[in-house]
Subunit: 257 residues, 2 copies
């Protein structure tokens, strides 16, 4: 594990490309920005870009590639068609397949959106001594649909998805300050303390990811989540799109700080 | 002048709409955000939005409207087709007409981009006691093409256009700090002190606006300019686009601070 964590982003991407690495990327190539990915036809790209521009908290854009391009600036020499550990293929809003290479699906009209993910501020929280239960447990963070509407754009609309992390009451203010320093990756929390106020009736039943308990001396803290644009793209039932598989991110050469 | 300055944004927009007000908007409805405007067909809107996203310093987006829409969120009840004092119509990159109403040119496929302008940080500089010569002289700010390339996006590419303000040496650091607090309107300067280093050979011959002298105890300070996206749109020679006339901005209901 220590050896894997010390892999460079390029080494990790090369292992993905050869099919050797197909797992979640959390904890790998520490200190480097990892991104969510959405790929859609150019026909829908303006509306989707506008959706991201109007909803920067859940959709902090790291990079948008030209139609047909697959080598990002944030990962020189990389190829988004092969360098993620896993992908999901959607047709008309339905998951059709999970694959480890999307070369066979590539088209010249596909536009790739790379969107910041919470791994960046999570490592800053951990470095500040704030424990994160899902990291300690090696499970996926708990995510919930809320009743908070995003600003719509063209055919893309839907409610905000949030991730929840239980934080000790004494650490909540610091967690806000630290994550607020990362506006390019969701920034400060959108809600603290009352899940029902944002339409979440049962914390033990997340809509995505894995449940963790909230202890008596903790508060549930909710951050805008990069699953939002993916969820909204599914809701829109566009004929075709591709996303990364949950937790299987693009590892970039960019540094978190 | 005092009376005009105390007009509300809505009152000023109404005077534009009736054709009563056709002058520059600088100094009017103080404290409110004014914006540059670019209107282009949907066909080019993704590339242009991507250009703005990649070049946030010259192109800080305040709002992008859906295709065909003309009432902005930043000016409720407003109509971008009539509520600016003047417009320029371009065909294939050439200026064809200046008009005070674009209703006759409106099409359902037109997308409106509202882009932050330097008036916002200028009023903060003036409030901090930093004199601005072009404001004192009632002339347009001096603007120059540079040799600094913008990041291209699709068919949009070109060099950065900057505005120049002579600032007393003792005030330069403060001017940087104050304008840096306005990242949504160009932010901190892109260059200080050596025009030739960014490809400007003669400060007395601006490419746009009016020249002002730089005194011995002053430095020329250069900020990314909202004319850049307009200049880049002209260079691209797209079949049709509309911009505001220089200095004749959309006055919004948003506050600068």
């Amino acid at each position: 594990m220590t050896t894997s964590q010390s892999l460079s982003p390029k080494e990790l991407r090369t292992l993905c490309r050869s099919g050797t690495f197909t797992g979640p990327t959390s904890g790998f190539a520490r200190g480097h920005v990892q991104t969510n990915m959405m790929v859609l036809p150019r026909e829908f790209a303006f509306d989707f870009l506008l959706f991201c521009q109007r909803n920067p908290k859940p959709c902090p854009l790291v990079e948008v590639l030209e139609p047909g391009q697959f080598e990002p600036r944030c990962a020189p020499g990389g190829d988004i068609r092969t360098d993620l550990p896993g992908y999901r293929i959607f047709e008309n809003g339905e998951l059709k397949q999970e694959v480890t290479d999307i070369s066979a699906y590539w088209r010249n009209d596909l536009v790739t959106f790379l969107i910041g993910c919470s791994f960046s501020f999570e490592s800053a929280l951990i470095n500040a001594g704030i424990q994160l239960r899902h990291v300690q447990r090696h499970v996926n963070v708990a995510m919930y649909r809320t009743n908070i509407p995003c600003l719509p754009a063209g055919r893309f609309q839907g409610n905000l998805v949030v991730s929840m992390r239980p934080i000790k009451s004494r650490d909540v203010a610091r967690a806000v300050e630290i994550s607020g320093r990362f506006p390019q990756v969701h920034g400060a929390p959108v809600h603290i303390g009352h899940p029902e106020a944002i339409g979440i009736s049962d914390l033990s039943k997340p809509d995505f990811g894995d449940a963790v308990e909230v202890l008596d001396d903790e508060l549930p803290v909710f951050w805008a989540c990069g699953v939002t644009p993916q969820y909204v793209a599914e809701l829109s039932r566009i004929p075709f799109c591709i996303s990364h598989s949950p937790g299987k991110m693009l590892v970039t050469d960019f540094m978190n700080e």
